[in-house]
Structures are given as C-alpha cells and as structure tokens.
C-alpha cells in the first residue's frame, strides 16, 4: 500500500514540475532576449561590417520574430536539441554533458567533506555548549561564512601550491601528464577507479583537493550551525526529557531520539546549500581553471550566448526539481509522519 501511495506522490510531484519548467523556459527565453547587446555584432568579430553582421544574425536565426524564435527553440528542444553555444563552439548538450559532471563532482565532494566535519561538530557543540568544541564550531562557522570563496581559494593556492608546493599546479581537472579516463559517470575519480587506474585516480583527487576544501569551508558553516541549533532544540524537548527519565542510555537518547529528529532541518539546509554552492562554484572554477558549468554559464551570459544560457537554466531547473524531490523522499525516510499526511 505504502509503495503505491509513495510512487503516486512521486509521479504527482513530477507532473507538478512540468508547468514550472515550462514557465522557467519562457521567462529565461524572454530574459536572455531582454539583455542589452547584440550577439550578432559580437560574434561577427573584430572587423565585421554591416553586411557580415547581418549574415551572422541570419545564421543565428535572430532575424526572425520573437514568437517564431521561441517556437523554433521549443520544437528543437522537444527533439533534444539544445542548440550550439557559439561562445565555445560546441553544442550545448555536449557542454552540459561534460561540464555538469565536473561541477557536480566538485560540489558533491565538497558537501560530503563538509557533512563529515559539520554534523559531528554541530552535535558535539550542542551537547557541550560553551566548551572549546562549541567555540571551535563558532569560529569555523563565522570564518566559513565571512570568507569569500575566491579569497579562500587564492589563499589556499598561495600557501599550498605557490609557497609549499604540496598541491599540484591548479590547471584544471587533471595534470598535463594525464588524459581523462573513459567516460562512464563523467566523474574523473569514479571513472578512473572503474578503469582501474590508480595513478589517474590519485592525480584527479590531487587536483580536486584544494577546490574541494575551499568549497567545503564555505558549505560547512550553514550545516554546522543548523545541526547545532536543531540539536539544541531537540535536546531541550519533552520527548528527550521523557526518554532520559525512562532511563535510556545517553547514546540512545542522543542518536535515536534527538539526532534523528534534528536531521529534518539539516536535510532542508543541505538542499539549500547544494543550490548555492553550485552558484558559488563559479569563482572557485575560475581560480582553479575547473571546466565546470558555472564558468560556462557566466561566460555565456556575458556575451549573450542565448542557447548556452537557456541550456544552463533548463538543466539547473531540472536538477533542482529532482533535488527537491529527493529531499522530500528523504523526509519520508527520516520522519515516518511525513508520508502519512495524505
């Protein structure tokens, strides 16, 4: 029974996403066109004259009326064709397929690292308020929030690459000596393991280290704060008091009763953090020459590369619809009450 209800709910959620995504398509289409600047003049190049600009405009299909352009865009989209990103000369599909995994690999690794540090830290800080652990937590949280990622990135680069020489040259996902592994997931670390190439795995991990630490410092803050606050709240709640009074072991009270209940707001925060880390990625990608989706989108936006911007927004919209769905599903796993609402 519960499976049927659950899958119906998932389906329902997916259907609800359709108008949202269509709305995003329309808004994004209109917004890109509303940007000042003329992509035809830009892409026609340095010495272009009137005629050659006009020719480029025709090639780009920008000489048609807006509704016609939109119809063309949607019908291409229905066939899975996202168009060509002129600024990079590749199809948008190729760009996304290559860059999204690059960004996700970085983001997910950073989230994983920050979770591993932030959650125990938040729990410890909540259970031992005003001790050194709590102060450490407060320090890391303040530092993480107040240091901009490009600054942390540059500072880490300066110390660990420039001064100490521990980190490899920050020139992208792999050192010059290596070729990327055969694509399975698009994550170099995972693909190199699938290929069984340890040297390659180490190399890609080495390239990731500094950007991941940079991002993790940034994402650690909200997660640790939220864990600490939620834990404080649940620890002060009636059911924890009851559990304690019933003589349950401290460990059991902490993990089963307090922590599980504190997880809900943490998971919500995690969803939000994920979304803004994908945004914050841009700066880290620039500093570490990481060929990710953020730098691609910014460059595309700067030169009014319509197809690229639209493709990026669309993929982000899809990503977030599925992310929200995943988080909702996670709720039902953590808190049985959520699934019984209907």
């Amino acid at each position: 029974m519960s499976l049927g209800v659950k899958s119906r709910r998932v389906l329902n959620r997916l259907l609800q996403a359709v108008p949202t995504i269509f709305g995003i398509l329309v808004v994004c289409f209109l917004l890109t066109r509303a940007l000042p600047g003329d992509p035809a003049a830009y892409f026609a190049g340095d010495m272009a004259d009137e005629a050659s600009i006009e020719q480029v405009r025709e090639n780009l299909g920008l000489n048609q009326s807006m509704p016609m352009q939109f119809v063309g865009y949607v019908s291409d989209l229905a066939q899975g064709d996202l168009g060509v990103a002129i600024s990079t000369g590749q199809t948008v599909t190729q760009e996304l397929a290559k860059r999204l995994p690059a960004s996700l690999e970085l983001t997910l690794a950073a989230l994983l690292l920050s979770l591993v540090i932030a959650i125990p830290l938040g729990v410890l800080a909540a259970t031992r308020p005003n001790t050194w652990v709590d102060h450490l937590c407060r320090f890391l949280v303040t530092a993480g929030v107040s240091l901009p990622t490009f600054f942390t990135g540059l500072a880490l680069l300066y110390v660990f690459y420039y001064l100490l020489g521990w980190a490899p040259p920050p020139i992208g996902r792999l050192d010059m000596m290596f070729l990327p592994p055969e694509t399975v997931t698009g994550f170099y670390t995972i693909d190199s393991l699938i290929a069984g190439d340890w040297a390659l795995f180490k190399a890609s991990l080495a390239q990731m280290a500094l950007p991941v630490i940079t991002l993790a410092l940034f994402t650690l803050a909200p997660i640790a704060r939220m864990t600490r606050a939620a834990m404080l709240q649940t620890l002060a709640s009636d059911y924890v008091r009851t559990a304690r009074a019933a003589g349950l072991s401290g460990r059991r009270v902490l993990v089963t009763y307090a922590f599980r209940n504190a997880l809900l707001p943490v998971v919500t925060t995690l969803g939000m953090v994920f979304s803004f880390v994908l945004g914050a990625n841009v700066l880290v990608e620039k500093v570490f020459a990481w060929p990710g989706i953020g730098s691609f989108a910014v460059e595309a936006l700067v030169v009014s590369d319509y197809a690229a911007v639209q493709g990026f927004v669309l993929s982000m919209a899809l990503l977030f619809v599925s992310l929200n769905l995943l988080i909702d599903l996670a709720y039902t796993l953590i808190d049985p009450r959520v699934s019984e609402e209907e």
Partner: protein, 539 residues
C-alpha cells in the same frame, strides 16, 4: 622528484603515442631531459579550429597560424631591445616557393612549393589554394572583410593554372594585396578532405573543419577538449619552414590571471600568453622567468570624442580635452610604464611613422583658454565610457581623465559597458560621446589605420569624424605603393589633420607581453598577437 623536474624530464614521442598507457599523455618514467613538451597557459578559450567559421574568436586564430600554411609569410627583424618581431616590409615564401607580379601590378602568379604535402600525405596543389581562398571570400563575416582589405573579393580572381601554379588577378594594383595573404585568414586547406566532408547545406565543410583541421602546417591538433585544452603535435614532414623546437605543445585555458601568474612563477608552465602590464613589470624582476614586451604595431589606446555630441562639434572643445589629460600619470598608473608615450610630440609632423606622438600634453592653461573661447566656457557634463573587458587599463585611465577634465570644469561620469555590448553600442551604433578605444590595424601602414579610424561609417571611427579632405587622402593612399612620391606628403597631411581635428586623442601605444620560463628561445612578436609556437625552442 618534484613536479618541475618531472615536467622538464618528460620527454616524449621518440616513443610513439600508441605505446603509452591509454590515460597518460607522457611516459612518466622518461627522464632524459630533452625538453620536448611545452605547456602554454592563456586566459581565453578556443572555440573553433576553423578561422573562417562565423563566431570564431580571436584566441582561436592561433590554430590557423600553427596548423595551416599560407602562400606567403613575413620575415623576422630584431627589435631595439634584442627581441624578435615579424617584419611587415619583408614578405617571405611559405607555401609559395616563389611568385611574380605582373608589370602593371594586377596579376600575381605563385609557384607552389615542390614536395609540400598535407598531413594525410596528399600533395598541396594550386586547386587546394583556390578552394581555400574561394572559401575565405565566400563564407562572409570577418574572413571576407579581411580578404577585402587586400582587394581579394571574388572567387573569379583566383585561378589554378596547373597543379603548382596559382594566379590572383586584382581589379587594380594594391600594396596591401601581398601582405594580406600573410595574415592568418588565407590558409590553405586540404580541399579533398574538406569536400569529402561537405554537404549540400554546408558546401564549405564548416562543421567538419570546425573540429578537424585539415592542413599542411607545422603542428597538428592531436587533442581538443573545448573549454580545457588543446594539444599540438609536431608535423615532422612540414615543408614550409625549419622544424619547430617542441614535439608537443599543450595549451591550457586558465581563466584567473592570478593563477596564471602563480603557474609561470612556480615554473609549472613554459609560457603565459598576453599578461597584463602590472605582471609584466613585476615578473621581469623575478628569477627564472623572462618577460618579452613588444609595442603593438599600428595600435594606439585613445580617448575618442564623438562629433555627434553637441559640445564636441566645436574643434576647440576637442582640443581643450586633449590639453587637459594627465598623460604622464596615466602612463605610469594605467600602463605601468609599459609601452610608448603618444603625447608631447613636436608641433610639426616631420615623419610618416605611425603611431607617432601627438603635439598635445597636459597643459591646463591652454585647455582653459581654448574652452573659454567656446560656448562651453562654463563647462558641461559628459559620460565617459569604457569597455569592461579591457578594464585593467581602461578603468584607471578613465578615472585619471575624469580628474583632468574636472580641472577645466568638465564633469565626466564614468560608464562601464560590458564587453558583449561594447561592439554594438560603441562601434556599430557609434553613440558614446566620450570613450576609450583600442583599435590596432593588422596591416602595418598608416593609411590602413586611417582607413578604419577616420572615414565616416567605418567600424573604428566610433566618433563619426567626417572630413572630405581626409577621406580623399585615405582613398588615394590606401592602394598606393609607399615608395610613390605622392605617398609621404599625403600621409603627412593626414596625420596633421588627425592632430588638428583631434577626434581621437592618442594616449599611448600598448605592448604585448608574454612571460616565458627562462630557458625558452625564439619567441617572435606578430601583429595578430597570438602565440606562434613554430619558432619556439628550448635553449
């Protein structure tokens, strides 16, 4: 073994690539220090391997330079500081081993180099040259415009007389025709390969050549990961010049300038292309790095006064602006002292060298006196615009100009315009009253610069300057041989007019700065400002 030694020791391709483990570009254990791989970092991105495609950006021109041959090229000259530069006045053979120009100057006959082959082994023929030049004049966009500068406009002008003889017919003689054939545009493409990959919709194989170069040049592209890197591999059968010093050159895109600087300073990379003046100045003092700085020919960073803007219609207002600029501090603070000052010259034009110093300098009394004679003696307000993608020099320059103008009662408000909009607003619509501009002409003659910058309607005349005498002089000199007795007096007059009317106020001639590891030799400056990797070699 640290990374630096590792890179040094990484020898290659005496072992063929197929012997290497799949995921490694270089054999890790190879230690013999033959230094055959160079790593170059740059801030742009390569967006196509075909220079003729519409939308191909400037950084991608280097593929045309390194992977293709043209009929002719330029020789090399030594600069006063000992560095090397191409020599505009010395056209040298590339794919053409010799050529003849008819008595009346309109028919050019080229003999294709014997034994020259494309990468796939097919001999280079005059038919290939014809197909390639036809393509350049037919595809439209920038290639067609650049070809037109050399009076090369229609496929009818190109004829393959036999396999090794190629003929160009000009509508009238022009001194720009031969040098225009040495620009990156008129590359020679393997027409057999291209035609095999063309379609009725795409007769010029733009889709195929976009990703797959088919040339005869010194380097092949062995790998292109768009947005990340391009790997050049030497073509050992190259017929058109001495063998390049590097077996392989890896070109990596590193967007952050500070990262590029760290990489070259640490010695992780061989070269960093086009570095800002500030870094050029500071890196030059470091050990292990050498910076080569060359003034960019036929290029001036200028302040332009738009004649559509009411106050600037009065010549005296424009002159007053030119007298109010703090040139010296701009040169120190915005250019970090790199480049050639373009102010404080003599009152009389005595040479036709271009660029040359204008007679203006910072003289507030003169500026105020001139302004007092006009309707604008109480000052006026004007927006001062610059292109955000060149903010590294334009922003400090604009601020200093703003201060200078304030001293003569002109209130300038600074407007920053995003790079993508710049072309449309500044160059196409030409509606910015006061703006900073950085045009440089590829073909190094004054008339060519003036053609783009001082004829009404032309792209880099972003200030709507229109003077019948100037237009007449430019049209007269554009195709004229520089040795013609009428040439020098006409150009002198053009320069006099430009300084008298001063719609474009010269600030300084910029430089192209490239940083190398100390042990790299052979770098040569080129007007296209891209890195020609062919002459580079490890010392």
């Amino acid at each position: 073994m640290n990374r630096r030694n590792f890179l040094k020791g990484a020898t290659t391709l005496s072992v063929s690539a197929s012997l290497l483990p799949l995921t490694q570009l270089l054999p890790r254990a190879a230690q013999a220090a033959t230094d055959e791989t160079a790593v170059v970092v740059f801030g742009g991105t390569i967006n196509s391997l075909d220079i003729h495609r519409s939308g191909t950006n400037r950084a991608s021109y280097q593929v045309a330079i390194n992977c293709y041959d043209r009929l002719v090229s330029f020789g090399t000259k030594k600069m006063p500081d000992g560095s090397l530069s191409y020599d505009f006045n010395n056209v040298q053979p590339e794919m053409a081993e010799s050529w003849e120009i008819s008595e009346n100057g309109t028919v050019m006959t080229f003999v294709i180099r014997e034994g020259a082959t494309f990468w796939n082994g097919k001999p280079v023929t005059a038919q290939d040259v014809k197909w390639s030049l036809d393509r350049a004049v037919s595809l439209g966009g920038f290639p067609t415009v650049q070809m037109r500068a050399g009076r090369l406009e229609s496929p009818d002008q190109f004829k393959a007389l036999d396999d090794r003889t190629f003929q160009i017919t000009l509508p009238f003689p022009s001194k720009l025709a031969l040098p225009d054939l040495a620009t990156p545009i008129p590359i020679i493409i393997n027409s057999e390969v291209a035609k095999a990959n063309a379609s009725p919709d795409d007769p010029w194989a733009t889709e195929y050549l976009h990703r797959n170069p088919a040339g005869s040049g010194a380097f092949k592209v062995s790998r292109w990961n768009a947005g990340e890197q391009l790997v050049y591999e030497r073509n050992d059968d190259w017929a058109c010049g001495p063998q390049p010093g590097y077996q392989r050159v890896i070109l990596r895109e590193v967007p952050a300038q500070s990262t590029r600087r760290a990489l070259i300073e640490r010695g992780s990379v061989t070269a960093s292309q086009n570095i800002p003046n500030k870094d050029a100045k500071e890196l030059a003092e470091k050990d292990g790095v050498k910076v080569i700085t060359t003034p960019i020919e036929n290029c001036i960073y200028s302040l332009c006064t738009n004649l559509d803007f009411e106050p600037f219609k009065d010549k005296r207002v424009r002159q007053a602006i030119a007298w109010s600029i703090p040139y010296e501090s701009i040169f120190e603070q915005a250019a970090y002292g790199q480049g050639m000052p373009m102010w404080g010259g003599s009152n009389e034009v005595t040479s036709i060298a271009w660029p040359q110093k204008s007679p203006y300098e910072e003289n507030l009394e003169k500026a105020r006196a001139l302004l007092a004679q006009t309707d604008y003696k109480d000052g006026f307000e004007v927006p001062l615009s610059f292109n955000l993608s060149v903010a590294d020099w334009a922003e400090p320059t604009a601020l200093l100009i703003q201060q200078g103008l304030a001293k003569i009662g002109v209130t300038a408000t600074i407007e920053k315009i995003p790079g993508a909009n710049w072309r449309t607003i500044a160059l196409v619509e030409k509606k910015l009253p006061l703006h900073l501009e950085n045009f440089g002409g590829w073909l190094n003659t004054p008339d060519y610069y003036f053609f783009w910058a001082y004829i009404k309607g032309n792209l880099f005349n972003s200030y709507n300057y229109d003077d019948p005498e100037m237009t007449g002089l430019i049209e007269k000199t554009l195709d004229m041989e520089v040795t013609d007795p009428a040439y020098a007096p006409s150009v002198t007059r053009m320069i006099e007019l430009a300084f008298e009317d001063i719609p474009r106020i010269p600030l300084w001639q910029p430089t192209l700065n490239v940083a190398f590891k100390e042990d790299v030799d052979g770098y040569e400056y080129w007007f296209h400002r891209q890195l020609d990797i062919r002459p580079l070699k490890p010392a």
